[in-house]
């Protein structure tokens, strides 16, 4: 750029920019930096005075068995729902793309999309009902009709609980992915496919050579946003895992994920510093995985 002035000439413009700085600093940059600082402090709401304790929170986190489980749970959760969403989303969006009738296409997209716009609070209650361990739980009823012997304890079995929540999340979010891929597919010129067909490429080859690479930006976007939202899962755990005695995140911490752990420590136990340290670890987890995805998906799928 040429010589740009330091400040805009226009007073109103300057005022707007100052307002922008004020808001961004107060509500974004300051909290971000404060989170880092809190991670090194003993802090809580109430009479507690803040004091520096160095790396004690991090040491406590890394030696805590529960926290180790929480990190693994979070990673597992993302590993379960992100790839599934991408595969299912892409497959279904290609099916919808094949529908000739515009009306049916719309209808298909709409039906898949509706769960996404509903609050997880309501969806969670509904799925808790579907997942009821009794034989009136509709999933168990259908599976028993199909031949399994014992009802499944979807949310009560510690081996299964997180996966059950994952299935619900996939159901709820996949419509969003479908819509994104569908929009992506519309941007691919038909002529590419026609040309490939003339060259004798079969359906798989066409998919591999045209569809997938041209959808790379969409895939990247879906992967990154789905991972972030998987890492930030909170509502589903909050709603679906509440029991009278163990609180939430159970059974046996099997559904305790990062954001719930942070919430619990900060707002139920009043350990703001400790929770902030966990939030910082979550922050770096997000950052790391996002960067990896950028690198990996770019390499793998781009020409």
């Amino acid at each position: 750029m040429k010589n740009v002035r330091l400040l805009p000439e226009n007073k109103t413009a300057l005022a707007v920019i100052i307002m922008g700085f004020a808001f961004l600093i107060l509500f974004w940059w300051y909290p971000l930096i404060r989170t880092f600082i809190l991670g090194f402090q003993l802090s809580g709401v109430g009479r507690l005075k803040e004091s520096w304790i160095g790396l004690a929170h991090y040491r406590a986190l890394f030696s805590s068995k529960v926290f180790g489980k929480v990190v693994l749970n979070t990673l597992y959760f993302a590993a379960l729902i992100v790839p599934t969403q991408i595969v299912v989303g892409l497959a279904v969006s290609m099916m919808i793309d094949k529908i000739k009738s515009r009306v049916f296409q719309r209808l298909g997209l709409l039906s898949f999309y509706i769960p996404y716009i509903l609050p997880i609070v309501a969806i969670g209650i509904l799925w808790k009902f579907l997942y009821h361990p009794s034989r009136f739980g509709i999933f168990n009823f259908l599976l028993i009709e199909a031949g399994i012997k014992e009802p499944i304890r979807w949310l009560e079995d510690p081996q299964l609980a997180l996966t059950s929540i994952g299935i619900m999340q996939i159901w709820q979010r996949v419509g969003y992915v479908i819509l994104l891929y569908f929009a992506g597919l519309q941007t691919i010129p038909r002529i590419f496919y026609e040309a490939a067909e003339i060259d004798g490429a079969n359906a798989w080859q066409r998919f591999r050579a045209i569809t997938l690479p041209l959808l790379t930006p969409t895939t990247l976007f879906v992967a990154v946003t789905s991972t972030i939202s998987a890492f930030m899962t909170f509502e589903a755990v909050y709603i679906m895992t509440l029991t009278a005695q163990a609180g939430r995140g159970g059974p046996i911490n099997s559904t305790n994920v990062m954001l719930y752990y942070i919430y619990f420590n900060a707002f139920d136990n009043n350990r703001m510093g400790y929770a902030s340290a966990a939030a910082i670890i979550l922050f770096f987890m997000i950052l790391g995985v996002t960067l990896l995805q950028f690198k990996f998906i770019r390499q793998k799928f781009e020409y």
């Binding site: 740009v4 330091l6 805009p8 707007v16 099916m95 609050p119 992506g184 972030i228 009278a244 902030s276």
Partner: protein
């Protein structure tokens, strides 16, 4: 002729399969709706009944309290307020940065762009402490304040402004229009649809949000619908007739809203997705 018929058959079968998948997909929603009209006894009957034997509104009567209307109003205030303010301030900031170039503006744009990948929720602890300090706990302003600026909105505006012909803005400047005037009369009309799309999508996200309002609102009077619904769950007493009726009460207005605004939704998604 026969050949063509065969293909049509194949397509029909494929279409049928697709239709079945679709039915399975929307089945949970049907189940919520139909079960909410069953009696408490019928809900736990084995085998389950596919539709309610007698249409019972017991669950609705048990769960309904006038405060639900208040919950809806609160959701409107929270979602509507934060989206309107956030998109207005963010787009104005983005607009000014592009239209009145300056070094400080460039710095601001980077300060915003750095933040677009950071989820708001990760900052809730210091934000909560800040809200306490500002004496905004348990108030609408406390819920809305941290949402008053939206980094992605600034970023979005920076990109969108590129598509507006520079001449239009320069002409308006020469005519002596103020920045707000140009924003209001030139930029906004041109970007109206995409901003509306973004707003609709954001609105739904805010409407469905639980965590932040849960922390800030302490009294029922300020609960948005999500917090109201969540506070219904009693671990000692699971009454699905009541809960499912509440879910239907919560869900139906959103579906109606969605169906009437769906064009904006689809556009909003593709906009955020294609960045």
């Amino acid at each position: 002729m026969k050949e063509k018929y065969k293909i049509e058959m194949g397509k029909l079968v494929l279409g049928g399969v697709f239709f079945v998948i679709l039915l399975c997909y929307v089945f949970p929603l049907y189940w919520m709706f139909s079960s909410s009209f069953k009696t408490a006894g019928e809900i736990i009957r084995i085998p389950p009944t596919w539709w309610p034997h007698l249409l019972s509104v017991e669950g609705y009567i048990k769960v309904w309290r006038p405060i639900w209307i208040r919950f809806f109003i609160n959701s409107f205030i929270y979602a509507g307020g934060s989206v309107t303010i956030a998109l207005f301030t963010s787009s104005l900031i983005g607009f000014v940065i592009v239209t009145y170039p300056s070094k400080i503006g460039t710095i601001l744009s980077w300060a915003a762009i750095c933040l677009i990948m950071i989820p708001f929720t990760i900052l809730i602890i210091p934000l909560y402490l800040l809200i306490i300090k500002l004496h905004l706990l348990n108030s609408y302003l406390g819920m809305i304040a941290p949402r008053m600026v939206y980094p992605f909105g600034i970023f979005f505006m920076l990109l969108a402004m590129r598509n507006i012909p520079r001449d239009l803005i320069d002409a308006a400047k020469i005519d002596g229009c103020t920045p707000l005037g140009i924003y209001w009369r030139v930029a906004l009309p041109l970007l109206k649809t995409s901003l509306a799309a973004l707003a609709t999508l954001e609105f739904v996200w805010r409407w469905n949000e639980l965590l932040w309002p849960l922390i800030v609102a302490s009294t029922e009077k300020l609960f948005p619908i999500t917090v109201g619904l969540a506070s219904l769950i009693d671990p000692y007493f699971i009454e699905f007739d009541k809960y499912l009726a509440a879910c239907v009460i919560v869900v139906v207005p959103i579906v109606i809203m969605f169906l009437s605004l769906q064009k904006f939704f689809v556009k909003g998604i593709t906009l955020t997705g294609m960045k």
